[in-house]
Amino acid sequence: MRKMLVLAALMASVTGLSRAARAAGWNMPVGVTEVSRDVYGLHMVIFWICVIIGVIVFGIMFYSLFRYRRSKGAQAAHFHEHTTVEVFWTAIPLLILVAMAIPATATLKDMYDASEAELDVMVTGHQWRWHYHYMGEDITFFSNLDTPREQIDGTAEKGENYLLEVDQPLVLPVGRKVRLLMTSSDVIHSWWVPDLAVKKDAVPGFVNEAWTRIDEPGIYRGQCAELCGKDHAFMPVVVQAMEQEAFDTWLAERKQEAAAAASGVDREWKLEELVERGEKVYGSICASCHQADGQGTPPTFPALAGNQAMMDDLDWHIDVVVNGVSGSAMAAFSGTLNPVDLAAVITYERNAWGNETGDVVQPAEIQALIDP
């Protein structure tokens, strides 16, 4: 009876402890997808197997140390081998490993099976932001860190989602299989959202597949999980899952916005208009390398303020922004920014921080350059 009580108390404290550990955020999250629950389940099963093995092995060891201690006159046994015992302690771990490998492999197979997805999203890592492209929907956008600079510098109190907040999250519908096609435009990044149990490398020149089917609407946060340069910590992932209906509405709104943003390619733009728009584009896309004040961080990221070569050669400047510079950190932006934004940011760079060229680059010129 007493033993039973002790055992029950032990069990209760163990389950209480594991629950407390989860609440404190020490354990991995259970997540909101079938796969993430499988992964969590595997993690816990294997954890408890390790605990049981640990208790048995160390229990026997400490018991033997105590029971057969020298002060009690214990004598060491001298024998060379015991084949039966050796076979036994080799076969048991083998069986345990196989027993763990079977469910783990089943889950892995499931994780790799991205077939029959209902929605495809291309995820491209950039230094240092994620870019999302809803394939077949013509919706593309960058997802930039949205934590105020003051919080990072320590002059303001840190917010609840410090470094885990973005201006535009990846919006996904719940209950549908979404395929994520991962790649990168520069170095290796890794797209990681613990609640979805998705962590996949984004490698330049390759397309990796992952998939998810989110059960509950909500906001799920993650980070880049592959060291990718100076702002590696400043390119979080935020996924907003919503009901199908809300998602459809969002999609329609985004399409309208995209159409509105891309419109105006044909009309003549004024210098001030372009500079105003270009400043926003510059702030969200270019400033992380070339700095808000245009001073860059030479030699890797050249200064744009007072850059004579850039000011003297307009065509070269346009070419660098539109097509990038191969072999350098400068990416091509023709695929990720629309012609209006491209024209705006180039005009801004030619007329900001004392660069008073007065040049105006019209969106139509860029349009003609991109698809002649």
Binding site: H80, E81, T83, E86, V87, T90, T105, K109
Partner: protein, 57 residues
């Protein structure tokens, strides 16, 4: 030959009797053990691959 195979298999498993080990070192030629070892290692790779293909299919 069968004895060599048995010795190589028990080396794969990691358990061997002292008297057999001694006998192998006194009577066996290193060449036969190396050849049998390579053949059995390739066989094991084939078996593991077959199991993996079966499980995937």
């Amino acid at each position: 030959m069968w004895e060599v195979v048995k010795s190589v298999l028990s080396a794969f498993f990691g358990v061997q009797r002292e008297q057999r080990r001694r006998r192998d070192f006194e009577q066996g030629k290193p060449g036969t053990f190396i050849v049998v070892g390579i053949v059995l290692a390739m066989l094991m790779v084939i078996v593991v691959m077959a199991i993996a293909i079966m499980a995937a299919g």
